[in-house]
């Protein structure tokens, strides 16, 4: 991808240099993580149940570098004026914050699909939740294995 061929910023280089040291001190949080993820999804849906289906969440099953993980969320929707995707949100289980990113699809959006690059601090479960224009919520979950974690975990050493 030609867009990635830009010079690495100094901050990024520093991040990479300190990454190895911090990854070694990374502490995986206790089992409450799964409930946290469910709570984050419930907060997005305002308590409404999510249904399985419609959402396709593309994440590499084995991630070699947790600092930039390509993810794509695609929702099965005709994207007409009355039947469209309003929002898509991505949540994680074990990063310091449950939220990753939230996307709103405006009237000029084409397909109901968005791609970005995210950080993963540990092997964990990710959720992609879509809110449709009719108010229903659809979710897809994936489990990813991360071999080099992103240094986002701030647990005191």
């Amino acid at each position: 991808m030609p867009m990635a061929a830009q010079p690495i910023s100094r901050g990024r280089r520093r991040a990479l240099a300190t990454g190895a040291g911090l990854a070694a001190s990374l502490v995986v949080r206790p089992a409450a993580a799964a409930e946290d993820l469910a709570a984050a999804v419930a907060a997005f849906t305002a308590g409404a149940q999510t249904r399985a289906g419609k959402v396709t969440f593309d994440v590499p099953a084995l991630v070699e570098n947790g600092n930039a993980v390509p993810v794509t969320v695609t929702v099965d929707s005709p994207m007409t004026a009355n039947d469209r995707v309003a929002m898509v949100a991505i949540f994680n289980e074990k990063n310091p914050e449950r939220g990753v990113a939230q996307f709103a699809f405006g009237p000029r959006a084409g397909r109901a699909s968005v791609s970005t690059h995210i950080r993963l601090a540990a092997s964990q479960k990710l959720a992609a939740v879509a809110r449709m224009s009719d108010g229903t919520h659809w979710a897809a979950y994936v489990d990813v294995v991360v071999t080099l974690a992103a240094c986002v975990d701030g647990d005191p050493v």
Partner: protein, 106 residues
């Protein structure tokens, strides 16, 4: 001004779905990392991104520290008429940047 890379086809047919890719140089410092002396590095991330087509929203995003450095987004828009695509990024420490790209629709 941070370096921004935006890929939009220069022209499109009316009704065509066009692919848009946008990347901006930004460290997305999470606020959870420590520096060499053990002090936390202050958070410096982009909070919002949006793409508008002649003023109407294509995609808006709210970002958290888990978005990778040099935030990259790929999405699509429906080409309806010739006009301007406006990309804006807003973040911590008063970060604000706007880029515009012209799109010719035939």
């Amino acid at each position: 001004m941070a370096r921004a890379l935006i890929k939009v086809p220069p022209s499109a047919r009316r009704g065509e779905v066009i692919e848009i890719r946008a990347l901006i140089a930004h460290p997305m410092e999470t606020g959870y990392r420590l520096d060499a002396t053990g002090r936390p590095l202050p958070r410096d991330i982009l909070r919002r991104f949006s793409c508008r087509y002649n003023g109407e929203l294509v995609v808006g995003a709210e970002l958290h520290p888990a978005v990778a450095a040099n935030p990259y987004f790929a999405f699509s828009a429906i080409a309806t008429e010739s006009g301007t695509l406006t990309f804006t990024w807003e973040g911590d420490n008063g970060f604000a940047q706007t880029e515009t790209v012209l799109l010719a629709v035939t």
